[in-house]
């Protein structure tokens, strides 16, 4: 029942959109001719502008076309109608009459389509009817004009059926029947047809044996853990060996075990691989252990299950389908169950669905009237429930129940789902229908796929390149060896340094010679072993360590600590840190992510006077009342406007006071809020918690309470309001619930003074059409102006009106209401018509402005992200209007943007809308490009396009060829807003982008409904807010506030990416240069794979000599300071453009590596050619040269030298010297004391110096030229940081730091 904002947001070009008269929806729809044409024939013959394609563009050129997104589309109605084959068995049920009514045009076909659309899919779609997304969305496949009523029907079961049986005669309260509502059967009756008798699940109530007769339904135990004790080792190893490199190293390790090939020691070659595997296995094992533990806790919770005639506690895991379960207040619901009865005489139960869909308010669920009175512990219930097979649609449920020979239809409002909690209801009794893995919540939490970072994926490609390179090296060696062997074949026997023959045994034998062919093969394999570090396994270890270090800094970042929830940043996935630096798309949930999910009453316009003093006035002690000896105060305090309070205290004698009084009475009464008393520590005090489905209503009721109109009690027949200390009882004589066509609700109150008043509140668009304009025109004008002002502040506005009813008029209404609510045919439409008769000629009271409170810093964060080139998409389950209004307040949408709105109800209309929109946005692009070149202004000045699309349209677009078009369209848009999307659709949208671009996607959300999207995106971020832990549990990173996304991406992401990208390239270089030095030497050893560098040094090279600096630099180096990165969000583009790791850089590195290895190898080679140098001495020279070189190479690229970097780099070089000294001090090794001799010679030092200068010079020159003459943005920013830029003023960026440091209230 949230406020309805105009569908079209006023833009400067069409300032009056808001006041365009609302096209009555039925005017077009009710046209019987088009409705009656039947089947699909109508589909193509229709004028696209008229209805279905509801592309909605605010452009002057489009002004003549219908601006409203009305669309009737009887076509889909009729088409679905056509596809419906009604089995005769259902003839007696209510939907029979509904469909027949369509023909007699008693009921507008629109409505029908809504109910039909919910279950019947257009024939074209039939094949895909099993898809989860489509089934999920099938509820909304009607045309768009009824879309909202459908969804509201699902979400709150309100919709059209505001049936309340009220008798005027006795003004007494009488329970309102909620149980079997007309609309329920209307909306769901068709489901019976859809339920395939064979496929359906049949549950015999309280009869386990019979239920499980046909199939054995699984138990209620759940399992989220990946491994069991037995499967851990194989599965974990299997997963780990998905890394190509691991397999490679396994093969190498195995090869080295062959005696002919043993180049290195046996254990030594396995050690590194084993170490990596072990560390990862321990980590995975621990994580899985925690999942096991939580599973066990969950499975062992107790539920009270009917056994015999009594409810006994039973573990959750033992609950079976068909069992009857009783749940007490505040208990969690163990499985999906159909309600039988509740503690409420009307059969209402309230559930909290926070863990399911992320909404924190209470939802109402109903037990069927027919089962309400049955007490299973007293009398046995027999009956059966036929329901659809388990699916993921948490908003849909189609079933019917046969009980006592009656057939009742069941809908989503009759089922309570696992993951919810029972609230505000003493107990409920229900039948388990889906248990364990088949519950909707479990089906929705698809297992988290392990993610791999983009950089790593790329890297794997380069590693394949490197392996190709390795193979080439090995081939060269073995080919040369082959040639040499062939050439010297005859001399091999006694060649002094080869000596094939072994004379030591009795007979002369070949020694270590296996024939020409095998020798070649062995040479090849041995060269693989010798050159193995070409593929840097150490890189994987380094990456893990670097990520841990990066995660440490992200967790410890004080700017990502949320004080209000006392939550730090959490790194839940350790392998995608660097992806944060490359994000191109952010998919954000709205509620709880962008907003705090708290509505706040801000200001009101009453009787033409704007009262907005509350915004600035200090907080006061809230209003309180005493009830039953307890002092109750509202849970939320609202800042009140002092003038208004003064006015209220002065009484309602004045004309002004009277209207104010009526206004607040309307706020307090015209809603469906249920007040709840919450006990506090103070025994004499209590808090009044207003529970309701609409946060707007809550805010209004709290506001009313703050001004002394405190709602104390609400039953279905009356309400009690404490008005300025005077408790008054009002009889609720009638209530027209909110529906999205009227966009308003009304309540008829029998006041204590025997007058009958109708209070109406609703969206300004529809309210002004029912307000009597003959009276108080100036007031209306003033109110309109105020509403405009409010909404431009981003407030959600509601207009309140009233009228007094005379007794006769009321009688008239009452009789027609009675008639309508008992009507069998077209009840909802009749009721709406009845509402229409009374909701007119209203006196305007005023309007309210409610702030959907954005989280702190959200607009600034979005602005920063946008400047950084990140496309922000908002995916919300909210209504379009709400979404758009949040779009404005969060600066996502601006008034300068052109909005494209797509609400379509069929695939064809979707296609048309998309095509039109693409054409138009193309045109806009060219126009703006032209103007840009004309004016020479920056890209920000051009026309920006915002796409707003709803879930219904997405049903047709996702998973079809239209995806392409949507994607194309989206690529023209700066902003995309998707409203009314179901959880799985969110994932579908993310997949739409993810599968079509190489760009990185990030999804951020806080509720369980965001889980699928979080898991689908490359990076999933969970907000650890109030909305349960599901999102956090499935996310890769979790944090307290949306605004932390800015430091996370722009600062940490940038750093991580830059560091990791550099580290990978450096590691390639580091290992390749070493391998190449080995390779060059092999060419001078008769291709026999001798190494001059000792085995020990080869082993220690990537462990001690060069490992620490790259890790330290990978963790600590910063190319730019936090401040610069936040000041210039555009610098984030470096990651998006893949500036730190791309094939160009890779190949440059390869060339550089070649040169450096040549310098290292050949300078000593020529210097010592024909000299008496021995192998160990020159080996030591090469070792030291290459280690110093690679460390200095790193040093040259280090951007920020702090003491740790110094220690790591110089320390490594020193450590290498020490190691070389130590190795050469071992007498049993060949190279004993070599280093001590060689360092005494001048040529050693000359070689060393020459190598380093000659090797580094080219890189240094290129680096300098590149930095100086083709500076990257990062480079300029670095210079700016160092030298400042006095000439240029700082750009007008929002100082994130200042905002971030602000303490939260």
């Amino acid at each position: 029942m949230t406020s309805k904002r105009p569908l079209l947001i006023p833009s400067p070009r069409t300032p009056n959109t808001q006041h365009l008269p609302a096209l009555p929806v039925y005017s077009d729809i009710a046209n019987p001719t088009s409705g009656g044409t039947g089947l699909f024939s109508g589909m193509d013959s229709r004028n696209p502008a008229a209805a279905d394609n509801s592309i909605n563009v605010e452009l002057p050129t489009f002004k003549s076309s219908p601006q409203r997104s009305i669309s009737s589309s009887q076509r889909s109605v009729s088409s679905s109608q056509g596809s419906v084959v009604e089995p005769p068995t259902f003839k007696s049920s209510s939907q029979r009459s509904v469909s027949s009514s369509r023909r007699s045009v008693v009921e507008p076909p629109t409505f029908k389509s809504s109910s039909q659309g919910s279950v019947v899919e257009p024939p074209t779609f039939k094949s895909s009817s099993q898809r989860s997304v489509s089934s999920l969305q099938s509820k909304a496949s009607g045309n768009n004009s009824v879309r909202e009523s459908i969804s509201s029907l699902q979400s709150k079961n309100s919709g059209n059926n505001s049936v309340r049986e009220v008798s005027f005669g006795d003004l007494e309260s009488k329970p309102v029947r909620y149980g079997s509502r007309g609309a329920d059967s209307e909306a769901l009756s068709l489901s019976q047809k859809d339920l395939n008798e064979e496929d359906a699940r049949v549950v015999y109530i309280d009869d386990l044996a019979k239920t499980n007769e046909r199939f054995e339904y699984s138990g209620n135990s759940i399992r989220t853990a990946k491994y069991s004790v037995f499967t851990f080792l194989p599965r974990n190893l299997f997963e780990q060996f998905h890394r190509v490199a691991y397999i490679y190293f396994l093969v190498i390790a195995v090869l080295n075990q062959l005696p002919q090939l043993a180049v290195f020691g046996r254990g030594v070659s396995i050690l590194p691989l084993a170490f990596v595997l072990l560390v990862t296995a321990v980590k995975d094992g621990f994580e899985d252990y925690r999942r096991h533990r939580s599973d066990r806790i969950e499975n062992n919770r107790l539920a009270s299950v009917l056994v015999g005639n009594q409810f006994h506690p039973k573990k959750w895991k033992d609950v079976r389908v068909g069992e009857i379960i009783k749940i007490q207040a505040s208990e969690a619901i163990p499985c999906d169950m159909v309600l039988l009865s509740t503690s409420d005489p009307t059969g209402v139960a309230y559930v909290q669905t926070i863990n399911l869909d992320g909404e924190s308010n209470l939802k109402t669920r109903y037990a069927k009237q027919e089962t309400l009175s049955k007490m299973p512990d007293k009398e046995k219930i027999t009956g059966l429930i036929k329901c659809e097979n388990p699916n993921r649609n948490i908003y849909g449920f189609h079933a019917f129940m046969e009980i006592d020979g009656k057939r009742l239809s069941l809908g989503p409002s009759n089922i309570i789902l696992r993951g919810c909690e029972l609230k505000n209801t003493h107990w409920v009794i229900g039948v388990a229908v889906y248990v364990g893995r088949e519950t909707k919540v479990m089906l929705n939490s698809s297992g988290a796929p392990s993610k791999r970072s983009r950089l790593e994926t790329r890297m794997n490609f380069e590693i394949i390149l490197l392996s190709g390179f390795l193979v080439a090296l090995c081939t060269v060696v073995s080919f040369c060896a082959a040639v040499w062997l062939r050439h010297n074949n005859d001399e091999l026997d006694d060649i002094l340094f080869y000596r094939k023959q072994d004379y030591s045994k009795g007979k002369v034998d070949d020694y270590n010679y296996y024939g020409w062919g095998l020798e070649i093969l062995f040479t090849f394999l041995m060269s693989v072993i010798v050159f193995q570090i070409m593929i840097p396994i150490s890189l994987y270890i380094s990456m893990e360590l670097v990520r841990v270090g990066q995660a440490y800094f992200m967790i410890r970042d004080g700017q990502m600590y949320d004080e209000s929830s006392d939550s730090r940043f959490q790194c839940r996935a350790l392998n995608i840190n660097e992806d944060l630096g490359q994000i191109k798309y952010v998919f954000s949930d709205k509620t709880g992510t962008l907003t705090e999910n708290k509505m706040e009453f801000q200001c009101a316009s009453i009787w033409g006077v704007d009262y907005n003093g509350g915004r600035s006035s200090p907080e006061q002690v809230g209003y309180s009342v005493e009830v039953d000896g307890k002092i109750l105060r509202p849970k939320m305090k609202v800042k009140a406007d002092p003038d208004l309070q003064q006015l209220l205290r002065s009484g309602k004698d004045t004309n002004e006071g009277k209207h104010v009084y009526e206004f607040f009475l309307a706020l307090a009464a015209c809603n469906t809020i249920v007040p709840l008393v919450v006990d506090t520590s103070d025994p004499n005090g209590g808090l009044l918690d207003y529970q309701g489905e609409s946060p707007d209503e809550q805010a209004l009721v709290y506001a009313a309470a703050a001004y002394g109109f405190m709602l104390i009690e609400r039953t279905s027949g009356h309400i009690v309001i404490d008005i300025q200390g005077d408790r008054q009882r009002f009889n609720v004589l009638g209530l027209h619930e909110f529906d999205s066509d009227r966009k308003r609700m009304s309540v008829i109150l029998g006041c204590p003074d025997k007058t009958i008043k109708v209070f109406v509140k609703g969206a300004d668009t529809t309210m002004f059409s029912v307000i009597d304009k003959r009276l108080n025109l100036d007031i209306i004008r003033a109110t309109e102006a105020h509403i405009h002002a409010y909404s431009s502040l981003g407030l959600r506005t509601l207009v309140v009106g009233m009228r007094e009813l005379s007794a006769t008029k009321f009688e008239q209404w009452h009789s027609s209401f009675e008639e309508a609510s008992t009507a069998l045919i077209g009840r909802a439409a009749l009721l709406r018509k009845v509402a229409g008769t009374i909701e007119n000629n209203l006196i305007i009271l005023g309007a309210s402005g409610i702030e959907d409170k954005l989280q702190l810093g959200v607009p600034e964060a979005i602005d920063s992200l946008r400047t950084a080139g990140v496309q922000v998409w908002v995916l919300t389950g909210d209504k379009q209007e709400t979404a758009i209004s949040i779009g404005y307040s969060s600066k996502l949408l601006t008034r300068r943007m052109t909005q494209i709105i797509i609400n379509s109800s069929s695939r064809d209309s979707c296609r048309r809308s998309l095509e039109d929109a693409i054409l138009m946005s193309r045109k806009l692009m060219t126009v703006s490009a032209d103007t840009q070149t004309d004016r020479g202004s920056s890209g920000h000045g051009g026309t920006q396009v915002a796409l707003i699309i709803d879930g219904t349209s997405l049903v047709y677009i996702l998973d079809s060829e239209l995806e392409e078009k949507l994607f194309e369209l989206a690529s023209y848009c700066t902003v995309v807003l998707c409203c009314r999307v179901a959880p799985l659709q969110k994932a579908g949208i993310v997949a739409l982008v993810k599968n079509r671009t190489a760009d990185m996607t990030l999804a951020i959300g806080d509720g369980a409904n965001d889980v699928s999207m979080i898991q689908m995106a490359d990076v999933g971020v969970g907000i650890s807010g109030q909305e349960g832990r599901q999102a956090v549990m499935s996310s890769d990173f979790a944090m307290g506030q949306f605004r932390f996304l800015v430091p996370l991406l722009l600062v940490h992401g940038h750093w991580n990416y830059q560091r990791m990208g550099y580290m990978i390239l450096y590691n390639f270089y580091r290992n390749a240069v070493f391998v190449l030095i080995l390779f060059w030497y092999v060419l001078f050893t008769c291709f026999s794979l001798t190494t001059a560098i000792t085995d020990w040094s080869s082993m220690l090279y990537s462990i001690i000599y060069t490992a620490v600096p790259t890790i330290v630099v990978g963790i600590l180096d910063k190319d730019l300071s936090r401040r610069t990165l936040l000041d210039y969000p555009q610098l984030y583009g470096a990651g998006q453009r893949q500036e730190c790791y791309n094939s160009k850089l890779f190949w440059l590195t390869v060339v550089d590596t070649f040169w450096q290895s040549l310098a290292v190898f050949f300078i000593p080679l020529f210097a010592y050619w024909g000299s008496s140098i021995d192998r160990s001495s020159i080996g030591d020279l090469w070792t030291l040269a290459v280690v110093i070189l690679v460390n200095l190479h790193l040093a040259m690229d280090v951007i920020r030298w702090n003491w740790i970097t110094h220690a790591a780099i110089w320390g490594s070089i020193i450590a290498t010297w020490i190691c070389v000294f130590v190795i050469d001090a071992i007498p049993s090794l060949v190279g004993y004391w070599a280093i001590f001799h060689v360092i005494k010679t001048a040529s050693f030092w000359l070689c060393l110096l020459a190598i380093i200068i000659a090797a580094m010079a080219p890189r240094f020159v290129v680096k300098f030229l590149y930095q100086y003459y083709r500076p990257s943005d990062v480079q300029i920013a670095r210079e700016l940081e160092k030298f400042g830029n006095p000439s240029a003023s700082r750009p007008a960026q929002i100082e994130m730091n200042a905002i971030l440091d602000l303490p939260r209230r």
Binding site: Y503, R556, S1088, A1167, R1270
Partner: protein
């Protein structure tokens, strides 16, 4: 409108330990750091400095190399009697043939003592994998490891027992000998201290005596006097320190007198070593030494080249800088500013 529940109560929140990360310069990644940036001035300076250092070094080493007097005499072919010219292998492998060969060398320039005598082998892969592995350093060191010959195949043992020193390296010990005389006067050749002190002291055991050496089916090279411990077999030590490259010299001895220019030295060579089977070369080298080692122009040339290039680069950068300077840290060069103003495209 603020939730008034207990959580936000200030007293309770202070009681509960806050998870707020403690501030430190380290955790906030704000450690004091220096941020060097390549400015044209610094780069030009670096290159000038390298040039200034390298060119003198290059000149000095060229000069030193130039002063080294070196005589290289390639004798393997010349020492084959004519009748064996077509069958050198038979000549060298036969124990009957007379291997003595007399050569005359003219000293081009005065050679100050000590004059080092080397033998140089070409195409001899002392670094071949099979070859370098075929030795036992443990056995060389100590008598107690006499039987540690695992890696020594195919020269591990003979019928009589373990070979000491085992392995191909020792087996192929060089066995040509040289005698020098000037004007029929014998020149003394010092063969002491031609190897590293460390080898004598620690690597080759004083209690290890040659055993069964060169008594197998195939004779590889020199025989060793089995009454002298390995620690005093300096030729072996020199040989066992295997060369890094296929063309190498090994120290044979020293002549401790100056050799005058134009003097003719008569060298009597015992040409025993078989390099003919692998088309290797044997050379006799007489050389003086300098601080840079033997005669080698490469380092000098390399230093001069690098130094020269650096000076050239410094000059080039200087010119570039003067012609086309770019102000450092000018935000108008940022890509998003650049595309707007359209200028500054390099």
């Amino acid at each position: 409108m603020e939730a008034k529940d207990g959580a936000s109560n200030p007293t309770s929140s202070t009681k509960k330990k806050s998870r707020k990360p403690k501030y430190s310069k380290f955790t906030q990644q704000e450690l004091p750091a220096c941020k060097p940036i390549l400015t044209p001035a610094s780069v030009i300076l670096i290159f000038v400095a390298i040039g200034i250092v390298f060119i003198p070094i290059g000149l000095a080493s060229l000069f030193a190399s130039e002063r080294v007097v070196e005589i290289v005499h390639h004798y393997d072919k010349d020492c084959i009697p004519l009748k064996y010219a077509d069958n050198m292998l038979a000549y060298i492998q036969s124990s009957k043939t007379n291997k003595t060969c007399v050569r005359k060398l003219t000293i081009p320039k005065q050679m100050k003592s000590p004059v080092y005598i080397y033998y140089q082998l070409d195409h001899f892969y002392q670094n071949h994998r099979r070859y370098v592995k075929s030795r036992s350093d443990k056995q060389l060191r100590s008598k107690s490891y006499e039987n540690t010959t695992d890696d020594c195949a195919p020269e591990r043992y003979t019928a009589k027992g373990v070979i000491v020193p085992c392995g191909l390296v020792a087996w192929s010990l060089f066995n040509d000998t040289y005698k020098f005389s000037v004007n029929n006067k014998q020149l003394g050749v010092s063969k002491k201290d031609i190897t590293w002190k460390s080898d004598q002291k620690n690597k080759f055991g004083s209690d290890v005596y040659p055993k069964n050496f060169q008594s197998g089916g195939l004779i590889g090279g020199a025989k060793l006097n089995s009454s002298i411990p390995l620690s005093e077999q300096e030729d072996l030590m020199v040989w066992m320190r295997t060369a890094a490259l296929p063309t190498f010299r090994k120290l044979y001895g020293r002549i401790e007198v100056d050799l005058e220019a134009d003097a003719v030295i008569t060298v009597t060579i015992e040409n025993n070593y078989n390099t003919y089977s692998f088309r290797g070369n044997k050379k006799l080298v007489l050389s003086t030494a300098s601080w840079i080692g033997g005669k080698n122009y490469l380092l000098g040339v390399a230093y001069l080249t690098v130094g020269g290039l650096c000076l050239f680069l410094a000059l080039a950068f200087l010119l570039l800088y003067l012609i086309k300077p770019r102000p450092l840290g000018d935000i108008s060069y940022l890509s998003w500013n650049r595309s707007a103003s359209g200028g500054h495209i390099y």
